[in-house]
Amino acid sequence: MTVENIEKQHMKKVLNRHQIATVLGISLFVTLLFSPSLSAQDAAEPAAAETEAVAEESGESAGDAAKGKQLFNQNCAACHALDRKMTGPALANVESRLAEEEGLDKQWLQAWIKNSPAMIASGDAYANEIYNEYNQAAMTPFPTLSYQDIDDILAYTAAPPPAPQQTDATTAGGEASTGGGSGISNELILGALVLVFGILVVMLFLVNSTLKRIAEASGVVVEKEKVEKRTPIWKAFAQNQFLVLVSVIFLMLVGAYYAYGWMMQVGVDQGYAPIQPIHYSHKIHAGDNKIECKYCHSSARVSKHSGIPSLNVCMNCHKSIYEYKGNPEGPSQEDLANGYTNEFYTKEIKKLYKAVGWDETNQRYTGETQPVEWVRIHNLPDFAYFNHSQHVSVAGIECQTCHGPVEEMEIMYQYSPLTMGWCINCHRETNVKVEGNEYYEKIHEELSKKYGVDQLTAAQLGGLECGKCHY
């Protein structure tokens, strides 16, 4: 399987969870992912053909494994994997396994998939057994799947499992070569520049010597002026008291300026990037996978706190995403240098499982939790009141305005100084978003008339008053 396919599957899962209706957007995204590497797509096809061949060999009715894979990812992957237990059992070779171990035929499977609760209710022995084995988590009935669809899915489950390690290696290799290429080009440019400068210097010397020779030839004597003995500059400086005074004042002012600057940064933790107990990469989540900030930090919409997501929010996705399979381009050189390999990230996911008490093998919560002690990055002093919902929901400000390019941050850090001056500046410059908000209608109309402006800034609406933030 190719990286793209994995990625697609990966994305799909997330998107299925979200139930986002914008299928158009997804397909566009998928298309974009596919378009630069048609060769990879080609490579996938023989594999699919092989699967089909296998399916045909098994003598059953023909299912299209490629189509089956698509259906599987759409409908089943949230709860099932091929080679491991998730919410539901592992499905690799499910048809043959059932036939061999339980003596159940395809009709049974079809009935189960189409309406499993009915089968449980009917008292079917194996149906109830499996139902109880998986914590009585009822499987969603899929009455819309046709028999052909089910055949396709079963064909896909019967196909041999892919070898993920291989893809990792190729990805890493590919990334390394491209990284190297860009390095060389930079050096070339630099080399060329050095060469040009060298030539210029040489030319200068040549011109100089030529001129000297011409002068000698024409008998002009370049006389070196006799150096008069002058008072050394420092003595002259010391004698000029005015100059001393001015420079002392100047130095003191400069010193004071820097001292002030230094003291003002005390307690300003801009760039603070502590090591967190779980290496959580905003780059992977918000950047690569484009997860909306407020999906996890949901309380930012309604509360003063943006809220550190509780672990059950993580598990919404990570119940299915149990390992990290790399981004489409694979880990960069830099990532590898930092040790951010796929295994590294997978290990961090296991840390999450430990914290939340998720038993992977049995797919159930053990109840033994270890709440994660995140190191707080943005520490506003207690006497300053800041409300996220005011800024996020009412003003519609992007999270990035204050938190910076979070989607590029492998390690989260404090982007803004979070000083009062910084707050005030923004309040002075930012126009209040009043459109469509009935609350602002009257006050905006009257105030803008009073101040003679079209758009009111937060400051004009009283956003600089002490008590708005300090109480």
Binding site: G307, S310, N312, V375, Y439, I443, G467
Partner: protein, 1036 residues
């Protein structure tokens, strides 16, 4: 007219040349900065070996070390939920409806929780009955986080587990079943249908179990009288809103009489509407909250009160009743009878005399009048204690007839007058189990202690009055290994049902009648139309008690005879429950200890109140010492051979001569922090459960130091702070006369001070402009707002010593002013001009009258949020500034503590943090331990040392309302803007809102003729305004 009236706050002010009063008048902070305290004594300084150079080295080193340490910020951790509960969003408060029913206070309330922590009590305004949380209920949330709470069951003083306790109790229950011994449950009043059902089921399983209900402060007389007349052991309900004429005879119905919660209706009737308001005449001995609010207050000894009640009945009935009364009282009764007869059904007569005859006569009078305010058909169940049964129990215990005693919600060893007998009896009881929140006198002597839940951790239900139900739901999981008594009963019955399910079953079977349980739980209160039969647990005991108490109607004639022939004794003691302490359950609550009594303005104490005449006779003194504190003599009080020693004495204007008052609830020593082991225990004097006792008072040596906020912040000669008038003048004259606006001279012309402006006014017509209205007629001085403000704004508790030094931190205080009819200069003149024996007698009596029995006015004062604030102009660092929304802001982190603002504030509402009040062992209250800190409101800064603080008009609440409106894209509706005090005020005295919203209630109130600002002549243009107090005096 109001302006020539003189107000005074203390006896001392009456003497013109009292140097201390003068000194306090001049000094806002009467104490110098205690330099000596931190410099130490001279000898100590001289003896030290540290020379100047060493000192400089230390200074240098510590400065360098401090600055180095300051460069490294602390690492903060954030620990999110593993699984976040669905309803909880960090930073957003949740509200749950529940009910307090601790045996003394019963109220339907809302609990504000933040991240699962209950932090504030609010009134449940949707509830039909008992929707007002008084000061104690407001403070009860702090008792949840009492660091002295029991953390698990105990055997003696050893921790055990519940299984051991369960096994022991079960074994005892089974053993006593056959031994012929009784098992008695001695509990508080539950008034709970589910608990009643549970107890009767328990009795069905263990037939030898009997249930005795014990009210610490009993209403037995009223209950018995009601039962005799109406056949049900309950209390009549009264709606004072419907009464136009209220006569109270020793009934503190604005306090805890009949379980309290009458003040809301009372206040509604007290606001003049269409020229009418209710008239209230009070006969009483102690100066109570009710008497302080009365239009006419007549001082009578309790023995005389009984005669007065009998005579009132006679006058209304046209029969003659004997008995001697002072002439003034006799006259007043004639007048009352005459006025009542004009509109009999609009009058109501209530009495708090602990006497079955008196209660029966009061019921008879109301029946006779056909009083609209009197409602015996939906009686209150909030007091059910039966003193006869309690006494019987003690007898049984001493006779060895009791095999096991199960106690819940009571502390008889502390609160029984005959505690010694109880103790000897308890020794003969095989197994005693006391359920309690905290370690107390009773748990200390019980064999087992069941650590019980706080009401905020419990399930339950209450039938407040007939058909009016209220549900109690937990707002937090048990903090410790505790269990509520009902759950324990279920367990001992071998019933696996949780008490929640049990309550739910009770409700769906016999209360809800098809209504939705979830809706009832959400609302917290439920009213049925029909009556509901609750299985009566007391049936077996009642039969035993019946022999002693005849259930036949008390014959009125004999009752009258008994009342009118009450012999007067020389000194009568009236025991009462204080507004801040009640029966003393929450004595370990620092908010309540620091709460100044509305009448005496004393915090951290109880005391003997005595009239000035008696005090002079017996040599008791009250004096004000140089630091502004109040000192008082000690007295020994003896009742029937039981004496309470060293009771501090307060000379109380309005105390009936020949009587003394003493409040319950103090003097606890067991299981209570040392700071709060204060006051004296009055329960030993509460003999035969009667609040009226014949006492002997003698002087004891020594002087007691009070923490009294009374003399602090005197009026500074500005007598127009309280404006008041009579209903007659109010109705007949122009408001310019009774609500006089001070005049100032502008361009040599007298103009109203409100029209003159030194500064250019800021245009406040755009956006919100917050105003607060305080109606002096509706305010009863109950103090719920004071505690609500405490809770909402993280106001620190400073302790007795600091309060004494006038460093109390209350952002909102309720000033209490006594008033006489004329100025004191007039009094002096009159005195000098008196001639002749008869003339001087009459003259002196007249002059004496107001001081001995003064009129009282309550005035809540918080930061007035002046539009031209004097504090803002003097702040050197601009830490206090004004907002366009009308609030005066205070930026604590900017304040450097010069205290100029406090000095320049004409209202004296700014409070200075003299010390760090949190995390400081010197102030070991709730802010010094992790448990107590859970009550802190996360939206309000906890202030540090050296900064000024004051009322912010709950800007955190107004800002939240604005933000909610913005987020939902709508305008703010009237009533949404609230402050902690306006929310807490169930009387409608405090109304808050936006005056730019013309349809708002507060805008309407601002246009009222009664509206005035404090010290209008100063020109501060406050955003808090008051309504002139109107008294319905006899002329009207």
């Amino acid at each position: 007219m109001a302006s020539n009236k003189k107000y005074w706050k203390s006896e001392a002010e009456l003497s013109p040349d009292n140097s201390i009063v003068e000194q306090l008048r001049q000094n806002e902070f009467p104490e110098e900065v205690p330099v000596d305290q931190f410099l130490g004594d001279k000898e100590g300084l001289a003896a030290t070996t540290t020379n100047r150079r060493d000192f400089l080295k230390y200074v240098g080193f510590s400065t360098a070390a401090a600055s180095l340490a300051a460069c490294e910020g602390p690492v903060n951790y954030s620990i999110p939920y593993v699984v976040q509960p669905e309803q909880i969003i960090p930073g957003v408060a949740n509200y749950y409806a529940t009910t307090i029913a601790n045996g003394f206070d019963f109220a339907s309330i809302l609990i504000k929780t933040r991240e699962g922590r209950p932090i504030k009590v609010e009134n449940n305004r949707d509830a039909k009955s008992n929707s007002g949380a008084n000061a104690r209920v407001q403070a009860s949330v702090l008792s949840l986080y009492d660091s002295n709470r029991l953390q698990g069951p105990m055997a003696g003083e050893e921790q055990i587990d519940w299984d051991t306790l369960d096994a022991t109790v079960k074994a005892t229950l089974n053993a006593t079943r056959n031994s012929g011994k009784k098992v008695v449950m001695l509990t508080q009043t539950y008034a709970s249908p589910s608990t009643d059902r549970l107890i009767s089921e328990f009795q069905a399983q263990y037939p030898n179990v009997s249930h005795v209900t014990y009210d610490t402060i009993s209403e037995d007389a009223a209950l018995t009288a009601f039962e005799a007349r109406y056949g049900e052991r309950a209390l009549a309900d009264y709606d004072f809103e419907k009464a136009e004429y209220i006569v109270g005879i020793g009934a503190d119905f604005l306090g805890d009489w009949h379980g309290g919660n009458f003040d809301s209706g009372y206040s509604k009737g007290r606001v003049p509407k269409n020229g009418k308001m209710s008239r209230h005449v009070q006969f009483e001995a102690n100066m109570s909250l009710t008497g302080a609010n009365a239009d006419k207050r007549i001082m009578l000894k309790p023995s005389q009160q009984k005669i007065a009640l009998a005579k009132l009945y006679g006058k209304l009935n046209g029969t003659s009743v004997g008995g001697e009364l002072p002439e003034a009282a006799e006259r007043a009764l004639d007048q009352i009878a005459a006025e009542i007869s004009k509109n009999r059904s609009a009058a109501v007569v209530v009495t708090g005399i602990d006497d079955v005859n008196a209660q029966a006569v009061a019921l008879e009078i109301n029946e006779m009048l056909g009083s609209k305010a009197f409602d015996p058909s939906t009686p209150r169940y909030v007091r059910q204690g039966n003193t006869a049964e309690v006494n019987q129990l003690i007898e049984d215990m001493n006779a060895g007839r009791v095999g096991a005693l199960l106690m819940d919600g009571v502390n008889p060893v502390y609160s029984l007058p005959n505690a010694a007998e109880f103790l000897t009896g308890l020794e003969k009881v095989d197994v005693s189990v006391a359920f309690s929140n905290t370690w107390n006198d009773t748990t200390a002597v019980s064999k087992f202690t069941g650590a019980s839940n706080h009401y905020l951790e419990s399930w339950g239900d209450v039938q407040l009055k007939k058909g009016h139900y209220s549900l109690m739901q937990p707002t937090i999981k048990e903090l410790f290994d505790t269990r509520q008594f009902q759950s324990a009963l279920l367990k001992w019955m071998g019933n696996d049902v949780s008490y929640y399910d049990y309550v739910k079953t009770t409700w769906s079977e016999s209360i809800l009648n098809g209504s939705d349980w979830n809706q009832a739980l959400h609302d917290g209160a439920f009213v049925t139309s029909g009556s509901v039969t609750t299985s009566e647990s007391e049936a077996p005991v009642a039969t035993a008690a019946e022999e002693e108490m005849p259930t036949t109607v008390v014959p009125i004639a004999s009752a009258l005879r008994a009342l009118s022939s009450t012999p007067a004794s020389e000194m009568e003691l009236v025991l009462y429950s204080k507004v801040g302490m009640g029966d003393g359950q929450q004595a370990n609550n620092p908010w309540l200890q620091e709460f100044p009594d509305p009448i005496t303005r004393v915090s951290w104490d109880n005391y003997l109140t005595i009239s000035k005449a008696d005090a002079e006779k017996m040599g008791f003194e009250n004096e004000h010492v140089a630091n502004g504190g109040l000192d008082g003599s000690y007295a020994n009080v003896e009742v029937n051979g039981v004496s309470v020693k060293n009771v501090p004495v307060i000379i109380q204007p309005g105390q009936a001569p020949g009587t003394v008052g003493l409040s319950f609830g103090y003097g606890k020593k067991t299981g209570i922090r040392e700071d709060m082991q204060i006051g004296v225990n009055a329960y030993p004097l509460y003999q035969d459960f009667s609040t009226i006792q014949e006492a002997t008072v003698t002087k004891a040596p020594g002087m007691h130091e009070f923490a009294c906020v009374q003399l602090h912040k005197t009026l500074m000669g500005r007598g127009d702070i309280i404006k008041e008038t009579t209903l007659e003048i109010f109705n007949t004259k122009d408001h310019a006369e009774w609500n006089h606006v001070p005049q100032v001279s502008l361009n040599h012309q007298e103009v109203p001070a409100t029209t003159v402006d030194l500064w250019e006014g800021f245009d406040r017509s755009v956006g919100h402009h917050f105003n607060m209205s305080i109606d002096l007629n509706a305010c009863t001085g109950c103090g719920a707002c004071v505690i609500a403000c405490h809770a909402e704004n993280n106001v620190p508790v400073v302790g007795k010593e600091e309060v004494r030094r006038s460093r109390d931190m209350h952002w909102l205080r309720i000033d209490r002013y006594y008033s006489s009819e004329d100025t004191f200069e007039d009094d002096n003149e009159k005195k000098d001009n008196l001639s002749g024996a008869i003339g001087s007698k009459v003259g002196f009596e007249e002059m004496e009258d107001p001081a001995v029995n003064p009129q009282v006015a309550f005035q809540p004062v918080m930061c007035q949020h002046c539009n031209h604030a004097p504090c803002e102009t003097v702040c050197p660092v601009a830490a206090t500034s004004h907002s366009r929304q009308g609030q005066n802001h205070m930026a604590y982190n900017r304040c450097v503590g010069t205290r100029y603002c406090a000095n320049n504030c004409p209202y004296k509402v700014r409070r200075f943090n003299w010390f760090l009040y949190n995390n400081n062992d010197e102030f070991d209250y709730h802010m010094n331990n992790d448990l107590g800190k859970m009550v802190i409101n996360p939206d309000v800064t906890v202030r540090s040392r050296g900064v000024m603080e004051k009322c912010s008009m709950c800007i955190q609440m107004t800002q939240k309302v604005i933000l909610d409106a913005k987020r939902e894209g709508r305008t703010v509706k009237d009533g949404e803007f609230q402050t902690a005090c306006s929310n807490a005020c169930n009387n409608g005295a405090i109304v808050f809102g936006d005056i730019n919203d013309e349809s708002s209630q507060v805008a309407e109130l601002k246009d009222n003729d009664r509206m005035y600002h404090l010290l209008e002549s100063v020109g501060t243009k406050p955003n808090v305004f008051y309504h002139v107090k109107v008294r319905n005096t006899e002329k009207a």
